[in-house]
């Protein structure tokens, strides 16, 4: 009888403790996810990333993210510029030699029909994916929203930041340009931890 009574009390105690424990675990996961995003945030806001995610319709350039020098550049209907001023008219599949030459990255879909094709563009106007000026909370909510991130589910988003040549270029930016503050492996791992943990966002 005493054993049954003690067993019942123990079960009652566990039942009362469980919700709190679960909540604490969820809270910890949220905190870890949020901290992972905050670790990755300076990379998104670094000039190598932000310069092609401008608040306006003109790309930025340089360490101070000034408007692309002298030229009247436009995002264009597909994010590739307009008329004789398309991004890949100057930007090639690899960085130009020496300082102040156009940086470049390869198009992963290039084949024998389009050899040495470059991949260099802004996001299209329907989904401009603005980084410039976004607070951590604003950028976090934007990046995980498929309506604002180009339709990327979390696993595709992780794949994008892990493999896209334009993302990888930030760690091979050519002479005279700095790279983001984390290594690419650290950045990709932080993004994965953020999204695997539920994509928690700062306020």
């Amino acid at each position: 009888m005493i054993t049954r009574l003690l067993g019942g009390m123990l079960l009652l105690a566990l039942a009362r403790a469980a919700p709190g424990a679960a909540s604490q675990t969820a809270g910890d996961a949220d905190t870890r996810s949020r901290e992972a995003f905050l670790k990755a945030y300076p990379v998104f806001m670094h000039p190598r990333c932000q310069n092609c995610h401008p608040a306006g319709d003109t790309p930025l350039q340089g360490e101070d993210s000034h408007v692309h020098d002298l030229l009247r550049l436009r995002r264009g209907p597909d994010g590739n510029g307009v008329y004789a001023m398309r991004c890949s008219n100057c930007h090639q599949a690899a960085n130009g030699p020496g300082p102040h030459t156009p940086p470049g990255a390869p198009d992963p879909e290039a084949d024998e029909s389009r050899p040495a094709a470059p991949r260099w563009h802004l996001p299209g106007p329907a989904t401009p994916m603005v980084f410039q000026g976004r607070t951590p909370g604003q950028l976090c909510r934007q990046l995980k929203d498929p309506k604002q991130n180009g339709g990327l589910a979390p696993d595709r988003f992780v794949h994008h930041v892990s493999t896209d040549p334009l993302v990888l270029w930030a760690w091979n930016p050519g002479e005279g340009r700095t790279s983001p503050p984390l290594s690419h492996a650290e950045f990709a791992a932080a993004v994965k931890e953020w999204l695997d943990g539920g994509g928690a966002c700062p306020p």
Partner: protein
């Protein structure tokens, strides 16, 4: 060195060069088409503009490997007899002063008109802002682009 083939001004062409050689030097030094000019060498001035499959690329920074199997058009290939609307308009408006940048200007203008047959002043600025002219012929360039649009549409061109 590597054999690289492309269609240049409508003619099948093969060159034996380092694939990283800028297209500009292949055109000028290997194929002796000197209408395309060297200006800055870093894609800033637009003097070296040619068409790659209709896009107005800067040939000074474009490796010839990118042209493999593609169509390249230079100022010499815009028309065989100066009959292209841009060439006629440039002559009618007497656009060039020193002339050094003008082949690049005309290739960019042709690219604009191929995509937009009736460009506004704003469209012209959007298309041509990357082609610099130290003589300052910009007002005549703008007039000539409008005139080329009229010629191409069948108008008399003022």
């Amino acid at each position: 060195m590597e054999k690289i083939s492309f269609v240049l001004n409508g003619t099948a062409t093969t060159v034996d060069v380092d694939p990283a050689t800028p297209l500009l030097w292949v055109l000028r030094d290997h194929l002796h088409l000197t209408g395309t000019k060297y200006g800055c060498g870093m894609a800033v001035c637009g003097c070296c503009t040619v068409h790659l499959n209709g896009d107005a690329v800067r040939s000074c920074v474009t490796p010839v490997a990118r042209a493999r199997g593609q169509k390249v058009t230079t100022i010499e290939g815009l028309s065989p007899d100066l009959s292209h609307a841009v060439q006629r308009a440039w002559l009618a408006e007497q656009v060039p002063q020193c002339g050094y940048c003008q082949s690049g200007q005309m290739m960019s203008a042709a690219c604009l008109l191929a995509a937009n047959p009736r460009p506004t002043d704003g469209d012209i600025d959007d298309a041509m802002s990357g082609n610099l002219c130290r003589c300052g012929t910009y007002p005549r360039i703008r007039r000539a682009v409008h005139r080329a649009a009229e010629i191409a549409s069948g108008g008399a061109g003022r």
